[in-house]
Amino acid sequence: MSSSENTTQGSGCPAHLEAMALGDMSLTDPVIQAHPQAFYTKLRNEDPVHYDEKLGMWLVSRYDDIVTLLRDPKTFSDKQGYEAQYASGFFEEFKQILIEQGGGFFPDVIKSDPPEHTRIRKLMDGAFSAHRVKTLEPVITRIIADLVDQMADKADHGTVIDGVKDFAIPLTIAVICEQLGINQYDGNKISEWSEAITAQIGRMQNREDMVKNALKVCELQNFIIQQMRDREAEPKEDMISDLVHARTEDGGKLEFGEAVSLVRALIIAGNDTTATAIGNLLFILATQPQVAHQLYDNVEDERFLTRFVEELLRFAPPVRGLAKMATCDTELGSVKLPKGAHMLVLYGSGNDDESHFNCPRTFDVSRGNTGTHVAFGVGIHRCIGASLARMEIKVAARELIKRVSDITLAIPAEDVTYQKTVATHSISSLPITLKKRPAAKGAAGRIDATSAPVVS
């Protein structure tokens, strides 16, 4: 995401968008990026597979079309869509900077099509199974509980803190570094590197941004290469060692560049989107106190927490839109698409589709089909780290609500800033106040997952 100016939206309710013609609107508009729901509704109702001229992409907005597209990776190539999106407009220059100063240009090997994708994915699946993630819960809980305590101390006596920069981002960086075996790190650097990488698919960087971001990606890659070299010399019990020494099913080793790209993907994907989800968690707890009460009342109930996390991901999916490309002339949602059509799959809109989710703007933990949300994608590219992300969000929700109360925005909700990007919907800064609870909460009452929905 661009680290340059962020966006606020004055009215808080983009009523003026209702009156605009779809052809005059674009997802490149930072106001729409910040408050996209009215635009998504318009897309779904008027032109569900819509060509956004300014963006130069087809926006896929209906739930059913999104699932259809994602289940057909032959017709809609992830690799081609990603490559056309990456460093858009400046690709050759970006690549050259990385070759000269970042140890090389290493394409994202996981953003590929079968059979190449299958080879890599199989190698990675085991590391992220739900069972392995379950064994991490005690470590993750310790990391998160410590961070909540630190934040609560800092916020004591009414001091305003930043829920994103003081909590969400440090939290997810600490967890992924623990997983990767990176003991010493500069959290601010990793956060900057993450922004620099995700800006490459955000479509909002100008040339100056691109050069700055490319240099940060160089730093990141040089850091990764050093970490890998250390483990080549001396293997450790961590994920970087596993990748450096990994064998694929055919007995082959990962190429060096492939391994660099995977470690890079783990560092970035492992913190950026999950941090966004935890920022969203704080925003919802601050703006919908009844949700906070419901969470507190059910905090010891695992089943409630699981559903709570799914509803959070449905209600506020961190990833807004990822790219695909049609590999042949085809049709989607009755719209004819030429070969080479560049598509942006709007997960954010799919999760908001009223034909699939009743009253989608209601945060309702008891809805029956929450688990069918598309926040993690669908099909062969479904998020590999979904279990880890769910665990981090669940533990964050639990440890937060046990330790703090009265989470309140320190600015009007409409002044909250969002990152400028088409790829995610991320709060960039969240000034809040909160109170420390007198003592950690013990056992709570049983959940009632069928309790009345909480209306926003």
Binding site: H131, G371, A386
Partner: protein, 110 residues
């Protein structure tokens, strides 16, 4: 590796009989290798996605057994279609005593 027979009832009611399922394989692998409709196994058997949801035939429930805690939580993400005999078939490893097993593919939770 010895082979056993397993019958999948697909969502539309079509029966698919696999006669060469290997003992030691998990049912999701058998299903995807034989293109059983409705079994996707998107997370590769990691018990993380809920896209290999089946109902175990009542006659076989005691042989197959129930889900463990982790599987129970993942099944909860598809709770609209969950039944008492629901399992994620990536978590069921075929054993000799499962020869003749019959399972029904669960509909998508929509």
């Amino acid at each position: 590796m010895s082979e056993i027979t397993i019958t999948f009832v697909e969502i539309g009611g079509t029966e698919k009989v696999i006669t060469d399922a290997g003992v030691g394989e998990n049912i999701m692998q058998v299903a995807t290798a034989n293109e059983v409709a409705g079994i996707l196994g998107e997370c590769g058997g990691g018990c993380a996605c809920g896209t290999c949801h089946i109902y175990v035939d009542p006659d076989w429930e005691s042989v197959v057994g129930g889900p463990n805690d982790v599987e129970d939580m993942t099944l909860d993400m598809v709770f609209e279609t969950r039944k008492p005999n629901s399992r994620l078939c990536c978590q069921i490893e075929l054993a000799e005593n499962m020869d003749g097993l019959r399972v029904t593919v669960a509909p998508e939770s929509l």
